[in-house]
């Protein structure tokens, strides 16, 4: 039981980091960035290449992957999303889906279809023994810590810094933010930069925990993390974290005690129940409608 719980929290922490990227972008640009899951995959491949082909030490490889994903995120935003700023949200959604196909198939051509086994970053560190014989792998510890640290930094960033405040202003009202002298385009680019950087971290953690790397590696975790973001109330930073962890725990427990085939159905079922009682997610803002 304890072992399953720890596995669930570890998986959930990875979902949470991905969900943070979704939630940031959604909160500020009001778009579902379906290509986010594929940026994770790119992060995984890039760090893999640095570590396996160039023997770059793991921490530096992670930083390089973050840098490349950040540039990628900004480029995607500039080329594909920015021209659609005034278009309907559905048009943006389809473009994001197109971008997701583009990234997956580019990866297929560049890195081939054969799965790659991701190197174990924590090879030399022994798993911790817990009370009751459960073992906690180092990647679980790192994932949980990274998740907490990222959440705290992001919360401070959005509430204390000028850039963060600008982001909140843009998320409230783009027009008013422009009038206040905020560069909306730059702010949205920054959001994509942060989201993509986080995706790189998530990619490294995901591949370390489940060490297989394929062009489709990011798509399922991407959808799950999107679910987690909605679960916690999309647009809310602590909500993404809580949603991610709950989702991970429910998934692992359902797989262990009910049925591995129905695990995903149970995860989505819980999401539906939550949304029926809290239509904007656990920590989402209640919006009052006006005519």
């Amino acid at each position: 039981m304890l072992a399953h719980l720890i596995n669930g929290i570890s998986l959930g922490s990875i979902y949470a980091i991905i969900a943070l990227g979704y939630t940031m972008v959604y909160g500020i640009a009001k778009m579902l960035n379906f290509a986010h899951g594929d940026v994770i995959m790119v992060g995984g491949y890039v760090s893999f290449c640095f570590m396996s082909y160039m023997n770059v030490p793991a921490p530096i490889a992670v930083l390089l992957a973050m840098a490349i994903c950040t540039v990628l995120g900004i480029t995607i935003e500039r080329l594909a999303y920015k021209p659609l700023r005034s278009a309907t949200s559905l048009a943006v959604l389809i473009t994001a889906i197109g971008m997701s196909y583009f990234l997956q198939n580019s990866a297929l051509i560049i890195w081939g279809a054969n799965p790659k086994a991701y190197p174990n970053i924590f090879k030399d560190i022994e798993a911790f023994e817990m009370v009751g014989g459960a073992r906690v792998s180092p990647v679980a510890v790192v994932a949980i810590t990274a998740n907490l640290v990222i959440m705290i930094i992001l919360t401070l960033f959005t509430s204390r810094t000028k850039m963060g405040k600008a982001m909140r202003a843009v998320s409230e009202d783009k027009g008013a933010a422009t009038l206040m002298g905020i560069n909306v385009n730059f702010t949205i680019s920054m959001t994509f930069a942060i989201g993509s950087g986080l995706a790189a971290i998530a990619g490294v953690l995901l591949c370390t925990a489940y060490p297989t790397l394929m062009p489709t590696t990011g798509s399922m975790p991407g959808i799950k993390a999107f679910t987690a973001a909605v679960f916690g109330g999309i647009g809310s930073i602590p909500g993404a974290m809580i949603g991610g962890i709950l989702l991970g725990v429910i998934e692992i427990l359902a797989r262990a005690y009910i049925s591995s085939e129905l695990a995903d159905a149970i995860v989505f079922g819980v999401l539906i129940v939550v949304l029926i009682f809290r239509p904007t997610g656990l920590l989402g803002k209640q919006i009052h409608e006006k005519v």
Partner: protein, 353 residues
């Protein structure tokens, strides 16, 4: 005066759509009968018609009712697997009878699924509604993954998650085998039946849209609170559109399923829902003509791109992004408007001469 004018414009639009479908049918029927068609295209005729039904039925929800649904393939799979069971159970009947009954029962069950799912889903709004439809699509797929159905002389046996629990006699035949899906489906769908169904679906949707009910649905889409204060019940009308759309997807699924000898639940996952949504958005939200054309073009496109081998899906992705960028670009749109106006001027001038 202006109302009758509007009505006639609407029916004119409807006739364009019937025209497109009928021309599509006649052209390909002639090509097939004279043998002037590649077998690649011939094999795709039924799927194209099915995807067209999927596209127009999803357009009813997304375009007319204004709700983003990401789980449309789920209803298709309900219709598909129901049809597989029904047609297997009616093994002795004639093929057209089996096909019609399969489509009807498939559509009814998918409609029922749509109704049940609609109850929680339609209470939500916007992106929350979208994610819940996605969730239901995945749940349907997961449940079908655990479903085992067999037929023997005593009738139909159904088991969940355990094929041995069906308790079939030795002569029994497994129809649906969990995640491995259905095998040995008798292929009884025909291009004609698919087109007839497509026309029926178009008649229902277009008459609905031009009726009092349709105007109520669109009023809710445009301003729910205002519509509600006019005495229109949003839940009732949204539910009507959602259920109708689900049952049409079920009918499409039935025809689709009976065109292949094997079918797996995984086929109807999130990606298929997205594929149909792409047809609707690219064709123009709310435009049935657009949905028909987009479905036809986009189903054939990946096949035309086969020459690119590995780069095929990459090209498809780029085409998708470029089309979205071009059609939604304000500057280009403005230029195109001017261009279109000039063209019209020229045409009308030519007409006068």
């Amino acid at each position: 005066m202006s109302i009758t004018k509007k009505a006639s414009a609407a029916s004119k639009k409807s006739f364009i759509n019937y025209g497109i479908v009928i021309i599509f049918y006649i052209v390909f029927q002639i090509l097939v009968s004279t043998g002037n068609i590649t077998s690649a295209l011939k094999g795709q005729l039924i799927p194209i018609a099915c995807y067209m039904i999927m596209a127009v039925s999803l357009n009813l929800v997304v375009g007319i009712s204004g709700e983003l649904s990401l789980g449309h393939a789920g209803f298709m799979s309900v219709g598909a697997f129901t049809a597989v069971i029904v047609s297997a159970a009616m093994g002795d009947a004639s093929n057209p009878a089996r096909l019609v009954v399969s489509i009807v029962i498939g559509a009814l069950l998918a409609g029922l699924a749509g109704f049940l799912i609609g109850i929680p889903v339609l209470r939500l709004n916007g992106d929350y509604l979208a994610i819940v439809t996605l969730a239901f699509g995945e749940i349907i797929k997961n449940i079908l993954n655990c479903l085992y159905v067999g037929i023997d002389e005593k009738g139909i046996h159904i088991a969940f998650n355990n094929p041995d629990a069906m308790g079939m006699s030795a002569t029994g035949k497994t129809v649906i085998n969990g995640p491995m899906g259905a095998v040995g489906i008798s292929k009884i769908s025909t291009f004609t039946s698919a087109v007839v169904l497509l026309i029926l679906v178009l008649i229902v949707i277009q008459n609905l849209v031009n009726s009092r009910t349709g105007r109520a649905i669109m009023a809710i889409r445009d301003n729910r609170i205002a519509a509600e204060s006019m005495g229109i019940s949003p839940m009732k009308y949204k539910m009507l559109a959602f259920t109708l759309s689900a049952s049409m997807a079920g009918a499409a699924g039935a025809v689709y399923a009976l065109n292949y000898s094997t079918l797996v639940p995984k086929k109807f996952d999130f990606n298929t829902s997205i594929l149909v949504l792409v047809f609707v958005v690219l064709g123009g939200i709310g435009s049935m003509t657009g949905s028909l054309i987009a479905a036809g073009v986009l189903v054939v496109l990946p096949e035309l791109l086969r020459k690119f081998s590995d780069y095929r899906m990459l090209v498809y992705a780029i085409v998708l992004i470029l089309v979205m960028l071009v059609t939604n670009n304000e500057k280009l749109k403005g230029r195109m408007d001017i261009f279109a106006k000039k063209m019209r001027m020229k045409v009308s001038k030519g007409g006068k001469k």
